[in-house]
Subunit: 349 residues, 3 copies
Amino acid sequence: MSIAARTLAELASFVGGKVVGDGAVIIQRVAPIDEAASGEITFLTNTRYAKYLERCRASAVIVGIGAAAEYFGRSPVAFLEAADPYVAFAKILQLFSPAALLAQTRSAQASIDASAVIDEGVTVFPLAYVGARVKVGRNSALYPGVFVGDDVEIGSDCVLHPNVVVRHGCRIGDRVILHAGVVIGSDGFGYAGRGESRVKIPQVGFVVVEDDVEIGANTTIDRATLGRTVIRRGAKIDNLVQIAHNVNIGEHSVVAAQAGIAGSTKVGKHVTIAGQAGIVNHIEIGDGAIIGPQSGIPKSVPAGVVLSGGIAAAPHHEWLKVMTLLPQLPKLWASVRAMERQIADLVKK
Amino acid sequence: MSIAARTLAELASFVGGKVVGDGAVIIQRVAPIDEAASGEITFLTNTRYAKYLERCRASAVIVGIGAAAEYFGRSPVAFLEAADPYVAFAKILQLFSPAALLAQTRSAQASIDASAVIDEGVTVFPLAYVGARVKVGRNSALYPGVFVGDDVEIGSDCVLHPNVVVRHGCRIGDRVILHAGVVIGSDGFGYAGRGESRVKIPQVGFVVVEDDVEIGANTTIDRATLGRTVIRRGAKIDNLVQIAHNVNIGEHSVVAAQAGIAGSTKVGKHVTIAGQAGIVNHIEIGDGAIIGPQSGIPKSVPAGVVLSGGIAAAPHHEWLKVMTLLPQLPKLWASVRAMERQIADLVKK
Amino acid sequence: MSIAARTLAELASFVGGKVVGDGAVIIQRVAPIDEAASGEITFLTNTRYAKYLERCRASAVIVGIGAAAEYFGRSPVAFLEAADPYVAFAKILQLFSPAALLAQTRSAQASIDASAVIDEGVTVFPLAYVGARVKVGRNSALYPGVFVGDDVEIGSDCVLHPNVVVRHGCRIGDRVILHAGVVIGSDGFGYAGRGESRVKIPQVGFVVVEDDVEIGANTTIDRATLGRTVIRRGAKIDNLVQIAHNVNIGEHSVVAAQAGIAGSTKVGKHVTIAGQAGIVNHIEIGDGAIIGPQSGIPKSVPAGVVLSGGIAAAPHHEWLKVMTLLPQLPKLWASVRAMERQIADLVKK
């Protein structure tokens, strides 16, 4: 993955950090702390992994400001101190991991409508499908099995990984990454009436995915019934997430794997939604809110709050007892209230 | 999306409703209440959105019987009263949203076995695959990336969206919609024995999807071990749902996103299963039952009951306290029982 | 599905079991107990289904050792007693269900890089994609829509079902089954920093899937940030499961549908994780542990323990009361403690 070697001092300069130790040491690669060897740089942000430092054979370790003093001498490595060592690690890893070189041509084995407008530098792999009047911006890549429906617009520098589906009329911004199997613009789950007389509500809206969004493998984002489902700038969505019709995910919000957000709900900016959380329809999640894993959110949430609803699993036989008693909480309260009255009577006497 | 303009009176007649206001007003499109402009019709079924009525610039609003009187005068719009305004909205939206016009030909870039029997009006897009002895009924559409395995039968007027997989021997009825990435007929999760000596149980059954079923993006429906997994007529299944081997989903039942139903369970007719619910194997869910979001269903459920098991998330630090105490419920009960005895003793004295 | 008829005595010998009744009866197929007819063998391992024995028209029934005596005479069938009747059933079903005969050729409609090394007996279906320097071992099958990225290695006797994606550099062992829509090697969900300054951490590791692993439809397994995500020998993973970056799943462990395992968590050998369970990042699940359905696992789990955390759904109106009281558990405890003190005072007096 390496393209070039750098000195530790060069890397420190690149990330705005400071060398503690030998700045002339040559770094060629990034590696995890328990595997790193000579010529490699690693990082230590979670003290849980400090135990690996003793035997660490990396040439350098990225740590927080002032942390080198604590670790220095434990091993022969040099340190790179950075204000946010994890960000420094990410930037150095980016430096050593250039994007794959792509053909920047349209495969003859792809199916591309004659009316599609495809900019320079775009790679259309074999077996990709591009519908009528589609626009694809500079340097984007459509991997094999990608489906781009009629009238879709895709910005520049996007990557649509294998078997991504973007249905008709949806709009994808610049620098968007859609991982394998993502579906954008499937019909929302909308019906009127019941049973035999249930009627499908046509889903005639579309999806807008703004710039710098990344969406994980096999995640599904439904088109709006009317209007648009919107994933705002910088939002990051993990694998197997369900985003229903007319949902709005705010700027820079993060949604972890297997979470689900029901129809027309508005998620604010900088919100964090943890894995397997479920959010009902037609509510609002305020800016900066944090929703814990497996939490159920039945009503709107104010900005900035931290909510949890997940239950830590317990030994099975103990949990069975708890689960038998849980439905009897109302009875327990009634017992306690009755006793309170009795005690009050006794105290009076 | 519009094909033709209609007067409000024509639309009222089409849905069996009644005009309150100017029936001659021309309607060209359907739009949401907060975006609708002149020439558009909108609807109001959720009073939460009544606030938008003041500034609403739609030419007409669909409401319930008698509701126009309440709103009349708040804005210059006319009203269409209907017994079920949401159904009226759906039907009018269908009227203004004709299905996409398809080529009704077989692409030379598709891979179609010579033994497949494909009826008139069928569209096979480029990059679709059709196996041996497959039958496809009139006017169905197979989008790019669709895989139809050997001996599959697909009825008429079906839509298989991009990258749908229907494995060998499965049967799909008429007017079935399979959204992008749906997998029908994957192997059920069946093994005998343990560890090193675990043996795969061949999954030699198939899946039957009856008429008028709609299945959401990336949902998976496993083939039966022996016999069949069945999705009955009119059932609607949302995105990312798991339906295990030998499950039976009854007529007109509805399963919301990310729910999971384990092997051999029989779900009755007109059942509603909300999002992220989980249902164990080998049980029965009675007709008309309603299962709330995130509910776990460990045993059979009688017809018509409404069950919930989801927990509303709470502020994180409060929830931590609750979660510390929850496993101690048995102790709490014991304390309460002990106190009851003590109080009884004190009262006696 | 049948290839040949066998006598019951031959089948008993094949599975190391014992005939009770007529060993000369001819068996041609396997069928479920409620549908089996003459010439078919069925099995009875769950006493819940014993009621079907009276009317069972199968020619033979597989049961546990000594069980035939109990059932004999209830119906005209013969019995095959086996130490593990479910394993015997699986083996007999395998015998009657040979694998599909494949072309063992490379379709001209596939896209195969000239540098790929594809062994004898491999079937590459139309519309499959094979990247540069890929290796595929003997008799493996790549179904339509399969994407195999550059430098991937796939062992022998593997089946990659339609629309499976294996991204660059991942390694798949022998006899691995990847069901339709599986994604192996998508980017892990890794960022450093927050909001506007959030930085993507390149995911430059890969995924190793060892021998005899089976992975269910639309499951996603992310590549490691650095190093490798590993699914060890014999592990079985169901549909729609999320396995995050750097996770390690131990030998012969089983993960049921819609479960999710967060980054860097190590799952031991012979672990069972039930459906919709969620496991946080950076923990260890000990060998042989069993995690119940919908359980949340927030910290490491010792070997061999059985944990549950799922809640059985209750009638909705009762559950509402319980859910109102649950957040007040700390208050309830305080009341109980206060009363205990009061009673102690009263008792003293």
